[in-house]
């Protein structure tokens, strides 16, 4: 089976659906001739033409707004917002229009737009190229919010997202585009080549939306996480020697609460980890739901590991990023509760 990094997997996903469905069009800043600043659309314009892979003006609100109109006219647009940090000029179009068009017209109109956007830090991006705004979108009814953590899931979930008639905000954790990252910036980068989830079929397949993945089975503690921190959790659990069950939720909304509850009811301990800021973060929703479903089986308060509640500082990136040290400290603290 071919080995792909996440960029290649995303490109392959786009290629597969564009080949299958002539209604799929890609639009965004630098996505066409150049192939995207992260190269996710490289070669697609040459293959599918300028009418299907469209370089857009620098106006995220326009990109989303035009994509909505294209979707209403029968196309299946995939819009790229170059960085998740740039998504806010398109926020009203996403929240007030894209998310609610089906609802307000009782299904007479809908627009199956997928918005791809790279998120997260760890690439020296500073406070305008590092944010993880997934909780903001998860809060909006009518939007599906997805964040894959590896090439296999990225391609399968992207195909599911594009083929879905619901609007999807598809977050791509850019720190792990080229390889899994264990949260220790001192160690040499590794590629996806040796990772089982770097094995990606060439053709069409899907990973279902709304289904979490148990990355590692364990008995002592459940770590609920997604995106880059999946790999940090795996490394931190291994180093502490705690037999942790690690769950990658993959779809943030709608949430697969059943898989999470089953795990926490089994282990009795739950730690939630995400890179986004803690206050009002998606971890708060996860904690509330797990508490409700698993209260009588909990042996310790639910813990949260998250980015600090500050903007993402350029020079102190590794003090900000919830890396291996913080993850290990969190695990040890949870296990010390008798």
């Amino acid at each position: 089976m071919p080995q792909m990094n996440m960029i290649e997997a995303i490109r392959s996903g786009l290629d597969v659906v564009m080949d299958k469905d002539p209604g799929v069009v890609v639009l965004g800043e630098d996505v066409g001739y150049f192939g995207g600043v992260f190269r996710c659309t490289d070669g697609l314009q040459r293959k599918y033409g300028e009418h299907r892979v469209i370089d857009a003006p620098i106006a995220e609100g326009g990109i989303v707004g035009a994509a909505i109109g294209m979707g209403v006219n029968g196309l299946r647009p995939v819009a790229e917002i170059q960085f998740a940090d740039y998504i806010y000029p398109g926020f009203d179009q996403i929240v007030s229009e894209l998310a609610r068009l089906r609802y307000r017209t009782c299904g007479e109109f809908f627009s199956p737009v997928t918005i791809r956007t790279p998120c997260g830090g760890g690439i020296r991006g500073g406070q305008t190229h590092s944010q993880s705004p997934e909780a903001i979108f998860a809060h909006v009814s009518g939007i599906v919010t997805v964040m894959p953590s590896n090439p296999y899931d990225a391609k399968g979930l992207l195909i599911s997202s594009i083929e879905s008639d619901d609007p999807v905000v598809f977050f791509e954790p850019k720190r792990i585009y080229n390889g899994p990252f264990d949260g220790d910036p001192e160690r040499p980068a590794v590629s996806w080549a040796s990772h089982p989830k770097g094995e990606v079929p060439d053709g069409h397949y899907t990973v279902p939306i709304g289904k979490a993945d148990v990355v590692r089975e364990g008995s002592e503690l459940t770590i609920i996480t997604y995106g880059t921190l999946v790999h940090v959790a795996v490394a931190a659990a291994a180093e502490t020697g705690v037999d942790a069950e690690i769950i990658d939720i993959r779809t943030i909304s709608p949430l697969d609460i059943g898989t999470l509850a089953d795990s926490v009811n089994k282990t009795g301990r739950c730690m939630i980890a995400h890179e986004a800021t803690r206050f009002g973060g998606f971890g708060a929703e996860l904690a509330a739901r797990v508490q409700k479903e698993c209260f009588w089986n909990l042996e310790a308060p639910i813990g949260r590991i998250a980015g600090w509640d500050t903007p993402y500082p350029h020079a102190f990136e590794w003090q900000y990023f919830p890396g291996k040290r913080r993850m290990m400290a969190g695990i040890q603290s949870m296990m010390s509760v008798e």
Partner: protein
């Protein structure tokens, strides 16, 4: 020049108690603005954005290069639609005042916009309307009773009680849904038009926004995209002088006409007498032909006057002179078409009165029918558990669970009378 910088606060020409003053409005005599070929370059037709295209002159004659090919029969039909729009609005306004619907917006004084533009477009063209385009919904085949049921949020409401009154939609009529957030439909129209061109179809899109909402970012995003991709779209700006209480100067209309907004992007703009049905029809047809034949977008500023309040929620006598509408130099679109038809020998006061009575009866009959499907106080009522439908294509488990909870706690009909 002053020696210091200064902050300019736009002020309308008249406030309550002042004599109405439309001196700020540049007018051209009917028939005086040339009609260029549709393949003209934008730079060669900039005059269209500063002049005022008018067909009907002060003696009610149709004159000049923009006289459209509309016979008396078609004009009588146009008059009927404008009158229906107004009769409908008056009835619905009254119904809101009686507390039988929560909200309403009338189009008094602006009826020519919806009707003339509706006539100039083809059924396959897609409309992305603003909230004062109810005439377009009517013209394109949405039944009065269905519009009333929407306003009532009753069991036949096309929106199933999810939208404020007047926020209609009709996929069958190629009428997009009204949002409630202003200007958001502009980029949708451009994207729709781009898709039409991508698919190689000759359907065009048309969209409407008020003078006030041209200040929204969506307007600027949309016209940039329209210009960049030469999308087949008509970008209408209905300049009715007022955005609730702020006059058009607060949207930047003091120094250049709204029709000129697109010139910097190479989009031709036409400033047209929005109360002259013939001129509106003619300019729209020009823009539609241009779009359909690859000429790209056209911006049309329809100069008109908001005859009524912004909505049932504001009192215009608090911010503008009471008699401003009667002093508006472009008059009333219904009256002007009526006088034109009378002058041509194709209409009379008696026929006009008779038609108005017929339309009142038609609207009243629709209202009687609409109430049979439920009112705000009398059943049948909508099932509140449908509020969980259509959030997603398939209802996810957490919404099904909330639906069950809602029925359990609020009762099967949401706590209403059982």
């Amino acid at each position: 020049m002053n020696k210091k910088s200064r902050l300019h606060i736009p002020r309308p020409s008249a406030r309550p108690g002042d004599k109405p003053d439309f001196g700020y409005l540049d007018l051209s005599p009917a028939g005086s603005v040339d009609k260029p070929s549709i393949d003209s370059r934008t730079r060669d037709i900039e005059y269209l954005s500063s002049g005022l295209v008018r067909v009907l002159d002060d003696d009610h004659a149709a004159i000049g290069p923009w006289v459209p090919d509309l016979d008396a029969g078609k004009l009588q039909i146009a008059l009927r639609w404008m009158m229906l729009n107004r009769v409908f609005d008056k009835r619905m306004w009254q119904i809101q005042r009686q507390g039988r619907i929560s909200f309403y917006m009338e189009a008094a004084g602006e009826e020519a916009v919806s009707i003339a533009q509706g006539m100039a477009l083809r059924p396959g063209d897609m409309c992305f309307p603003s909230y004062r385009n109810q005439g377009l919904y009517m013209y394109r085949g949405v039944k009065l009773v269905d519009m009333m049921c929407q306003c009532l949020s009753n069991t036949r409401d096309m929106c199933k009680g999810r939208q404020l009154p007047i926020m209609y939609h009709s996929a069958k009529a190629n009428m997009f849904s009204i949002s409630g957030n202003l200007g958001t439909q502009y980029p949708h129209a451009v994207g729709w038009a781009m898709a039409s061109a991508i698919k190689g179809e000759d359907h065009i899109a048309a969209t409407w926004v008020g003078d006030g909402a041209t200040a929204e970012a969506d307007f600027h995003h949309a016209i940039t995209f329209a210009a960049v991709y030469q999308a087949p779209v008509i970008l209408n700006i209905v300049n009715n002088q007022w955005a609730i209480s702020t006059f058009q100067g607060f949207a930047g209309g003091e120094r250049r006409p709204f029709a000129a907004r697109g010139l910097g992007l190479g989009i031709p703009g036409i400033r047209v007498d929005g109360n002259d049905l013939l001129a509106v029809y003619s300019t729209t047809l020009w823009a539609a032909d241009r779009a359909r034949r690859g000429g790209g977008p056209t911006m049309i500023e329809l100069v008109t006057y908001r005859g009524g309040a912004h909505s049932t929620s504001d009192d215009p006598t608090k911010y503008r002179p009471k008699d401003e509408w009667s002093e508006f130099p472009l008059g009333d679109p219904i009256e002007r078409l009526k006088q034109h038809l009378i002058a041509e020998g194709h209409w009379s006061d008696a026929r006009h009165e008779q038609l108005e009575e017929e339309l009142k009866a038609e609207v009243l009959a629709a209202w009687k029918e609409a109430q049979q499907y439920g009112t705000m106080t009398e059943g049948p009522f909508l099932d509140p558990s449908t509020m969980f439908d259509d959030v997603y294509a398939e209802t996810p488990h957490h919404l099904e669970s909330q639906r069950r909870r809602m029925i359990k706690v609020e009762g099967a009909n949401g706590g209403g009378d059982t």
